[in-house]
């Protein structure tokens, strides 16, 4: 009888510990969001009270219109959306082609190119930044979006690797059958391989979206005039002002973060599945 009870209690204790851990961790992970939202509804004086209180003494909404007025939020969002949209298009156009070549076409260069693709992942962005800056500067392309968008049309190593693994998993028999029927390489790619890879393309689209939306270094270097700023730049510019109104800053941050959260809420399943499976067959 006693032994049975102690196993039971062990289980219960185990469960309590587990749920306790989950609870604490969840609170920890949510707290920055909480802080961000709650501070945005405080006045700046309220934000500077000691001891710090979580909830605002008085809920004010004035920070939001002030934040939206201080930085041309919608213009920056439009800029960022444009860059993101075109980048995603570029990546989705080029990645399947290259991945197909490396995975499905038996040619001499496939292994070499695959190796090179992986190698470029090791090249730090700081190495290429100065020469790229010099070139774009000479071509008069600073303060345009060209430096930000152009690379997307030539493929990114990380995405190609993921896509290549996916294509490698497509049974060759499908393609062989089409070949016997007289389909050209391009037709085999376009009519068979491409339709099959919707899931991995969605994953890559999501990664490309996140990358382009939060991109910081290239806009920092190449965009000089405020009307072309992306959201990340605009927000950081706000932060480096002379004296910082934290409550208003938090409101700006909330407005900045909201679209990403909404996007995630809508496409949750794709996010989770896509990212989760992207690392599996490494």
């Amino acid at each position: 009888m006693n032994k049975y009870l102690s196993v039971q209690t062990k289980k219960i204790i185990g469960k309590i510990l587990f749920y306790g851990l989950v609870f604490v961790l969840t609170i920890i992970f949510i707290s920055p969001f909480l802080v961000m939202v709650l501070t945005s509804f405080k006045t700046n004086n309220d934000a500077f009270t000691i001891p710090v209180k979580l909830l605002p003494r008085e809920w004010v909404a004035e920070n939001y219109p002030a934040a939206l007025a201080a930085i041309p939020y919608f213009k920056y969002m439009g800029n960022t959306a444009f860059i993101t949209f075109v980048s995603i298009c570029g990546q989705l156009l080029v990645t399947p082609m290259v991945a197909y070549s490396l995975a499905k076409i038996k040619w001499k260069g496939a292994d070499i190119i695959s190796g090179l693709v992986m190698a470029t992942m090791m090249v730090p962005i700081t190495v290429t930044m100065v020469p790229m800056y010099k070139i774009y500067s000479m071509l008069g392309l600073t303060n345009t979006y060209v430096p930000l968008i152009l690379p997307a049309f030539f493929g990114k190593a990380f995405y190609i690797v993921i896509a290549r693994q996916f294509f490698a998993g497509i049974p060759n028999s499908l393609l062989e059958a089409a070949k016997i029927d007289g389909a050209s390489e391009f037709q085999r790619f376009y009519k068979i391989a491409l339709p099959l890879c919707k899931s991995v393309m969605t994953t890559i689209g999501i990664y490309a979206f996140l990358d382009a939306w939060s991109d910081y270094l290239y806009p920092l270097i190449f965009i000089t005039k405020p009307d072309r700023y992306t959201l990340s730049l605009g927000l950081q510019q706000y932060m480096s002002e002379y004296s910082v109104d934290w409550a208003r800053l938090m409101a700006a941050a909330v407005v900045f973060v909201l679209p990403v959260i909404i996007c995630f809420a809508v496409f949750q399943k794709n996010f989770v599945e896509g990212i989760a499976t992207s690392g599996l067959k490494a």
């Binding site: 082609m97 070549s101 290429t128 390489e185 973060v257 599996l280």
Partner: protein
């Protein structure tokens, strides 16, 4: 007969090249050319306005004598060797939690994952605010437990730990990858181990780890490559004007968060020493390349031994 075979291989070669051409062109334009010209710039002195002037090894001598280069390298290595494993550990921990079936699992998973897709600028801002020694939530929560929190981003001893903590918040994507690989371990393994009387810990180390080892390794290598490029957060922190030591050293208190890429950036665009910056960048490239090759070789051996089930 013979003619056909040649044509087939040739055709494949042409097709292969054609399909891969965008990347190949991009490779030359965005990787090879910049690498080579960056190497050339390393031996010159120039700012963006004047043309490069050959100075031979001057930049490299400057780098060797510049104590900040070594300090920044040390800071970056700290991130590589401390932050990466910590992040991986946290990701694995979160993934194991999220794999278990319990009520509210979806919500918890969202809570763990969402931070990693928040744009870095906003996240860093909130963390600066949270780390404020007087008004920040972290120190206030610590005070509930009677702990007097340190000055975090204003105290040279704690700045890097603040960065590590910030890093763990962003492990959402790694967590998902770990979660997927945890779920891919066949249940039958666990069942047969249970029959043999294995406990939880034994199951974990003898079954789970070997099965997901290659995924962990890949994430670790990726994580290290990223840690070598750690830049955005420290740039934002060192250029912020409140909540951090305003008007201080370019790399935070006592240059404690001067990361190598940040120092490269400063040399290039603040001090207008683009030649020196290029030299530094090339050195980084060599270090990263070496490190990656070594890591991959070593872990290949380890996983070969472990994964052989």
């Amino acid at each position: 007969m013979k003619r056909r075979k040649l044509n087939q291989t040739q055709r494949d070669f042409v097709n292969g090249l054609l399909f891969a051409s965008p990347w190949i062109i991009g490779f030359f334009a965005f990787s090879v050319y910049p690498l080579i010209s960056s190497l050339y710039y390393s031996f010159t002195k120039f700012n963006a306005v004047t043309s490069p002037e050959w100075v031979g090894l001057d930049n490299f001598i400057d780098i060797i004598n510049d104590s900040l280069v070594w300090k920044s390298l040390g800071n970056t290595l700290f991130m590589v060797f401390v932050s990466t494993p910590v992040n991986l550990f946290v990701a694995l921990l979160l993934a194991s939690i999220v794999c278990s079936n319990f009520k509210g699992r979806g919500f918890v998973r969202t809570a763990f994952f969402l931070p990693s897709i928040i744009p870095m600028v906003a996240a860093t801002m909130v963390w600066i605010w949270m780390f404020d020694p007087t008004y920040g939530y972290i120190n206030n929560v610590l005070s509930w437990f009677g702990i007097n929190g340190p000055a975090w981003l204003m105290d040279a001893d704690y700045t890097k730990w603040a960065l590590v903590i910030m890093g763990t918040w962003n492990t959402g994507t790694t967590m998902l990858v770990c979660m997927a690989s945890l779920q891919s371990v066949p249940k039958s393994y666990y069942e047969s181990a249970e029959i043999d009387g294995a406990g939880k810990i034994s199951k974990f180390f003898n079954i789970t780890i070997p099965c997901i080892a290659h995924v962990l390794v890949y994430q670790a290598v990726l994580g290290m490559i990223n840690a070598f490029q750690y830049f955005q957060q420290v740039y934002i922190i060192t250029t912020a004007n409140s909540g951090v030591k305003g008007g201080g050293a370019a790399g935070g208190p006592e240059n404690s968060i001067l990361m190598y890429p940040l120092y490269i950036f400063r040399n290039a665009f603040s001090y207008l020493k683009m030649g020196k910056a290029s030299a530094m960048a090339w050195l980084l490239f060599i270090v990263v390349a070496l490190m990656t090759i070594i890591m991959t070789k070593v872990t290949k051996k380890v996983t070969e031994n472990a994964g052989g089930e």
